[in-house]
Symmetry: D2
Subunit: 423 residues, 4 copies
């Protein structure tokens, strides 16, 4: 059999051509666990608001890897020493950094695996892969965990100005069509440098970084925390919560068997994930690696025929895009408790639900965002013309980065449109 | 309840903002049958080759409607009479023109409904919708069927230079990242005019049309008939053929019940579609309106655990992207029959299949494309400076459009990589 | 002679196709005074820093007119009454709004005509044109001067969010390649509305406006007030000041006769402009309408051979791009007076200039910018969901627009590189 | 004095950031002869038809150098040996390849220097520069002249698919806004390879090359040979021919002295260029290096006031954009000789010109274009999957490249609009 050419080029509408830099990386990309990311949309059900937002995590990790490759090229031209092995390890670290995402992660993080966030699950996958690849991923894992002695490599993978964020902002803007989120990734990357083992931005790039922070904030409010997106997330979360509850009572649901496994079992930590699932000859982790968007979508599709009225109602809400109304307030004081009670009453009266059941239908919560965290260790440092290094929040005399450090909170209530009351 | 604002604007990364022009159109877009198109990818599994190609038919029909709106605006500034009612009817005709697509239409057209192409099914959906909307779609249906007296409106919806094609070329280029397919839709639309009830292109637009034809041909060979895409289509088609066969023998398959319905029943024509399915209180058409990509994806996912070795093999081929090798030849004479027999033998020997079973694993067929059909009634007419009208294939003294009228055929064989023989 | 088709379409790389909306507008565009704007670069000598910045004011006024056309279309779909005559008047007002610009306006405003800014000269040109066009521009002039009763039309032409600014930001970003300045002009225009005869932005557009303000500020510091651009401006200004001085002493300079006219005569106000120049049978205004970039460039080219050492030095500085060093400080206190004296001394010593002559070679000044002026009458108003209208600086709970209202000042010194002293 | 950082980045709106790769290249770019290219528009007066076409040859040579840099990077990843010295030599060869262009080269090639084309003059400039730079350009000159032993380096600089052509197509499309000319330069460059010391395109790139050839042909007919552009070229050429004639009779013209020098002296070959001009202490070559667009524009501006009626008429034609009518025919037989005589008569009658004078006002000629020259040595070679190499005209079974090899000719007549006769 002819030896396969593994120096592939992949068409990416966002960055153009993405070159695969090594055979190991090619083999990792071909691995089913990576391929699975093709079946997990980057932005969950946001495509119900922005019809173009159908891009998946597979595209994202390729894009982030591409940016790492570009960043390393630039740093090397500036005299920063990075060996080929280190370059590959850093590329792999970002390629694998999202393996631990389940479907609809933003909504369902810690729903299927209760004590672990997606980064911890990613690390577990990397460790397993490292066994399959005879230890070739050891350095990548060190970079990912910030245990490698060149700390700046980790910062390319994970920090307030990492290639992960730069890629997802570019990509989410591109596919949603929200042009406000477009950033000059090229220019930011050209301005990267390393001083005392830390990634810094050369002073000429200060406006680009500022624009990046602003774009990020705008994307939060226009896309990630768009009110209709929050409404969708609420419905999805309550629907799965109801399914888990019904299954716990012995109720039978027509649905994907793998999704059912995760709703019926109490998976909490690494030990649980590494255990034998006693289902399809798989460990729990292997089952998790089979769980993707389509199991949820398929199950929702089936649930639109459910007897249970809450399941049926929520499933049809999502399936036919008859979304819940959401109202947002800057403060709790804005909530009109009388009106809220009125709405709950009318839901109860019309649908005949009890106090517990109504919690699936009427929800209330907080969302918040902070564009820049100046307190964290990983603040964004600017290399000034006099070679001093200062935090971007202080670097720019014309800056308003400090304003971006404020946390903005919003309060919302969410309920079916049919029950809304004319104000 | 506050009256809903239906003059919505939708973000489209391809055309920018798309404005919904009327309340009727808004209500149609909200209809579950339109929303279903969100769950049918425009290019099927092409995303396994071009990772960005995750866009769906919902985006496409909105885009095509937008281009119709733009085209009508231009024609009106040139003095062509189009009433508001006619404009809306034409917008609706194109909005609904793809309703009849099932999942993976390019591969599976006539697989689920054997005697009808997707346009005939679209018409059936439109008729049903017309009942639901109290006859408001009558003119749209006339335009769609070319029964309306202003024939040029139909040509905007369906001809060799219709807004359907212009949108899908733009869109497929955009999402695949194949920049060769980018066309200047703006310029083509600006050059539209109507003479003697026919759409014509003003002479200044001749290069743009030529580029459109060339782009279309390039997209055929680079995307629609990309060899890996053909290989995927073959695997998918054989997988579903096998499933249908196994079900016919009474074999039990874990899969989507709706998909199972279509594999177990012999649905051929409009009468079959309008009949009661005796399943979930639905007509067959209503079930068809529930059949979308996710039922196929979910079933494939389940079949990766199948006992039947053909099912298991083909399902894993697609699920884990271990795709079949495909070899393409310009002519039958290129087939090396000895080698083909060798390959079949080795498949048989290793997997132990009989002659019938091997037809799922080793396939051979023809694909063809003609960029421009100069014989058809709906050829592309150019309005010359002296007001004469001639076919584009003759209009341009510098043209090579005539070359584009040739049908190009390619012959291929397709089989698992593991069985390929070193040449 | 065949009647000319005046419904032309113009290719614009920024906005696509620009349609000329009426015969009157076509005739105005053909007028030599409009055509002259082709010979005045939008950004003067900025192309010495950003090589792509060769676009001219002719392109800009066409682009701004195009945006006005789009804005009026949108407003009309929202029920705002605008007659065809008013639409044309507003288009003409913006088409002509830059007629009064001379070459290198940003540097040389009030240099050739000492008491008038370019808007006042534009008005004078419009009045003259109105005579030539039999009073057809009367309404356009009313709109331009804010004397027309529908005040919102003037705001489209001139305000803090007018189509002038939107076009030049888009255009200058496009041609400089500074992607940070790209704004979503489409989205802003889609969000325009009129309440109580005032242009407002619908609340959904608040992020777009914020981005516009930020982009504007970034463009100021990255392009319009880029330090090298300031350095160039200084050299150009001093060169022409020296020429004027030498001519006043009777010194002969090889140069453009029209430029010489303006350096030798004391033109101050409208009366001066309307007077007979006694040169080439032209009024002074007609001569001004002949003065464009090429007269300056040609004269600089000749002056590179000048005997006068200051002329020769400054002309070669610009012609051969041997630009002056510029140093920028946030405050006067940063100036090191000793070092400044040292630099001046060394210029004096090497070149042998006296105290007066050195003012052409060593300069010092302030530049400032305020992104948003919240005190002005023409602040940007947001139409909130509850139909109240508030200033953008107050509208956004997540906003940092208030920060943008601060005036930022920078102090600089500028002198030949050869005289800089190692710090 | 602080050592200057010469690793500059230049913003290019077409390719993004262009990095200067070495100090020598930086110094060459700073040289007045390179800087002069800023004053020569790439497309002459085409901006009178496409208002955005103000880009100059300086931008183009930087862009072409950037593409060479990218191409060399790609070739090196494919194992092609290119030393740093060879890379720099190739970059320099293309950076300097247009030095020999005078103003409006396409119209005025061989007008100022009668026996040399621009490439021969470029070579002369390079030789002079090589002296100034102590022989550091020797290898670059070898590459430029195809005398270096690695022939493929020359092909990157000059062949039917060189970086010169790729850059100017991209650039001219970008600035004119003619989107039909956009090509995927990225993809073409990614497909480059070298076999037997020849540049080849890998088979996957065949569509991209085909699109490149088609785009090139479209750009010829839509831009480079656009009828109005030809009309402008005719007027400019006749105007300068008239000026030369008048000067030869001793007539005095107000104009640029350097332009006058070239009209009054008979400069034919390298010896003439290297001679002392006896004007401004310069060699003729040094004067040529001062001749740029602005000398022509300034002189045209002055000539609008000329007494000579032909000068005055042609100068105003260009200055105020009152362009001549042009009529184009596929063949001589289409010329209506009677009508032509009628037009000439009416020019003569109205303006009172004699037979000789009328040749400045009424012109007739041929333009032609061949998109691909399959006969030349430098044809475009495709590297097939079986490692054979064939001409693109034969490589593609679906190709129409052979059609592109035909020479297309067009015949035209050109004369003032006022004299046109109603057909």
């Amino acid at each position: 059999m002819k030896k396969q050419n593994k120096k592939k080029i992949i068409n990416d509408p966002v960055h153009g051509f993405i070159s695969i830099q090594s055979e190991l990386i090619f083999d990792l990309i071909e691995h089913p666990w990576l391929q699975r990311l093709r079946r997990i949309r980057q932005l969950g059900m946001t495509y119900l608001v922005y019809p173009g937002a159908n891009h998946n995590r597979f595209q994202h990790v390729l894009g982030a890897m591409h940016l790492i490759t570009e960043a390393i090229k630039i740093l090397k031209t500036k005299g920063i020493k990075i060996t080929n092995e280190e370059a590959e390890a850093t590329q792999i670290a970002i390629l694998l950094h999202d393996l631990g995402h389940g479907p609809f992660s933003h909504t369902l993080e810690k729903f299927f695996v209760q004590d672990l966030n997606h980064e911890e699950i990613s690390l577990l996958f990397m460790s397993e892969l490292n066994k399959q690849f005879d230890g070739k991923l050891t350095m990548a894992i060190q970079v990912f965990q910030n245990e490698y002695h060149k700390k700046f490599l980790h910062q390319l993978v994970s920090s307030q100005l990492d290639m992960d964020r730069i890629d997802y902002l570019c990509r989410d803007s591109f596919f949603t069509g929200v042009s406000e989120g477009v950033i000059g990734s090229d220019r930011i990357i050209k301005m990267l440098n390393v001083v005392e083992d830390q990634i810094v931005i050369e002073a000429k790039g200060i406006y680009s970084v500022e624009k990046f922070l602003i774009a990020r904030r705008l994307m939060y409010w226009q896309v990630y925390l768009h009110k209709t997106v929050i409404s969708i997330d609420q419905s999805l979360h309550q629907l799965l919560r109801r399914a888990r509850y019904l299954l716990s009572t012995g109720y039978e649901l027509q649905m994907s068997p793998i999704l059912k496994f995760f709703l019926q079992n109490d998976i909490r930590n690494c030990d649980d994930l590494l255990a034998d699932s006693q289902f399809r000859h798989s460990t729990v982790l292997e089952l998790f690696a089979r769980l993707d968007d389509q199991h949820i979508y398929y199950s929702i599709s089936e649930w639109t025929f459910e007897q249970d009225r809450i399941m049926n109602f929520l499933a049809n809400t999502l399936y036919n895009r008859k979304l819940f109304r959401i109202q947002i307030f800057p403060d709790y004081s804005f909530f009109n408790q009388d009106k809220i009670e009125q709405i709950k009453h009318s839901i109860r009266d019309v649908m005949g639900f009890d106090a517990d059941e109504i919690t699936y239908i009427f929800t209330s919560d907080i969302v918040s965002n902070k564009a820049y965290d100046s307190s964290k260790d990983n603040n964004i440092n600017i290399l000034m013309p006099d070679n001093s290094i200062i935090d971007i929040a202080k670097a720019s005399d014309i800056s308003n980065v400090s304003v971006l450090s404020n946390t903005v909170r919003k309060y919302f209530i969410c309920y079916p449109k049919v029950f809304s009351i004319i104000p």
